[in-house]
Amino acid sequence: MTKGVSERQTADEIILIDRAVGHDADAFGQLYDMHVDRVYRYIIYRVGSEADAEDLTQQVFLKAWQGIGRYRRRASPFVAWLLTISHNLVVDFYRTRKDRTYLEIEALAGDAAYNPERAAEASLDQARLRRGILQLRGDEQQVVTMRFMEGFEYSEIASEMNKKEGNIRVILHRALLKLRAILENEGVES
């Protein structure tokens, strides 16, 4: 794991966070610079469309600014907080499109933005995995992506989700079982 561990939250970033919590817009701007790529990457993986990912990324930082006064440093790094906001916005994004499932939106987006050409490592298997992950429940998706794709520790994920570490492992187990079933079904259907 190379990303997301708490130790990577530098002293400089902690100072910026403290200033931002005091509503220092310049400091918040610098936090935006530090994390916008990661937030966008997290979101586009979940929504597929570049336009939607851009829109949601903007919303993440607006919401973060609106809530920054109540941000408290915790076991997880600041970026985990941003990714939790991202997760909630993605869930809302799909909720407001009740008539469509993840897969239908995927099909409409046609993987145009999130395609193997733009993400060279997105092999066929990874594309299948992604489709499977997108069919998991919200909390299951959050645990799988934060643990395996973003590299957060169980304790950090637990802190962000207001759950115990043991619960996170239970959710992870359940998510993997479901994912396996989804992929097996997909294999049978295709």
Partner: protein
């Protein structure tokens, strides 16, 4: 006895850390082989998110919009200076309300040691006796810790202040002081661009932090231009040359910022430029839009011309009508 989910998590972590392989884990828990193996293979097949990045244009535009939201404008009022004042004072108020306890303490200390002069200077205008002290406090702020990009942000904040001062002077009919105000505005913009140039040179490999500051200069100078144009239309004839000069500096600053962004690879055609109506009016006033004028002659912001440094002014409270903190206006949503 360990729960299955704990064993699964332990095995995944060990394998990912390179401390074991799948066979090691299965050997450790032979009775769980059938349940563990497929889940381990699946979990280990999930890789980190592919490194897809947003476009530079999006990042710059989104940042500008974010900052615009943060410094959101109030409703437009008839007088440009009252609109401008309201914007800037609102921002200041927000910071003040969040720092009120610090401010109260600092005011007490400053008063005790004679810092009241520096305090009072913060509302002085060009031509006032205390104005040099105000500039001195800004120099102190420039010397506070921070990299060149952060200093560029501060200098841009000073340019905002200079526009506010021009607006205030015009509102008070102090025509003779507008020349000095325009000159100080130019100095602040030059200082901003110098810091950006230094930051760019130092951070070529460090992403587009500098580009973001530069984008804000491009945006801020457009706003300056619009406010100054409104002031221009409403001041007496003898005040117009100074305002015209300030507008010329805004245009130059805007051009320089856009050129710097272009050099950094940003598609500037996606960014807002000088609106057609403003451009048309400027051509009438200035006899044409001034072209890109090259780097400033005085690129090194030397010591202030008349400095009596006071304390950093970002910790000095506003006049009495602004120090009463209202309810915090940005604390509503907490943890999402």
């Amino acid at each position: 006895m360990k729960k299955f989910e704990d064993i699964l998590a332990e095995c995944i972590d060990d394998i990912r850390a390179g401390e074991a392989n799948i066979e090691d884990c299965l050997a450790r828990y032979p009775s769980l082989r059938e349940r563990l193996e497929p889940l381990l293979e699946l979990a280990l097949g999930i890789r980190e998110t592919p490194d897809v990045r947003p476009s530079s244009v999006f990042k710059v535009k989104a940042r500008v919009q974010l900052m615009e939201h943060i410094h959101e404008r109030q409703a437009v009022t008839k007088w440009p200076w009252s609109r401008y004042n309201r914007q800037t004072k609102q921002i200041t108020l927000r910071r003040r309300s969040s720092m009120v306890s610090v401010i109260v303490a600092i005011v007490l200390v400053l008063s005790a040691v004679g810092g009241g002069t520096a305090y009072a200077s913060q509302w002085s205008l060009p031509g006032d006796a205390l104005y040099s002290i105000k500039l001195g406090t800004e120099q102190v702020r420039m010397a506070l810790p921070g990299d060149d990009a952060a200093r560029a942000e501060r200098a841009l904040g000073f340019a905002d202040r200079r526009v506010e001062e021009i607006v205030d002077l015009a509102a008070q009919g102090r025509v003779h002081d507008l020349g000095l105000a325009a000159e100080k505005y130019e100095n602040a913009l030059n200082m901003t661009m110098t810091r950006i140039q230094t930051a760019s040179a130092a951070r070529l490999a460090a992403g587009n932090v500098t580009g973001n500051v530069t984008a804000r200069v491009a945006e801020a100078t457009l706003k300056h231009l619009e406010v100054l144009l409104e002031v221009f239309e409403q001041v007496p004839e003898d005040a117009k040359p100074a305002i015209a000069r300030a507008m010329e500096r805004s245009v130059t600053g805007h051009h320089r910022a856009m050129e710097a962004l272009e050099e950094a690879g940003v598609d500037v055609s996606q960014l807002p430029g000088i609106p057609a109506r403003v451009r048309e009016r400027l051509e009438n006033i200035l006899g044409g839009i001034p072209p890109w004028a090259g780097p400033p002659d005085d690129v090194t912001p030397g010591p202030p011309d008349d400095v009596t440094p006071g304390p950093p002014d970002d910790v000095t409270p506003g006049p009495p009508d602004h120090v009463t903190p209202g309810p915090p206006d940005h604390v509503t949503p907490g943890k999402p």
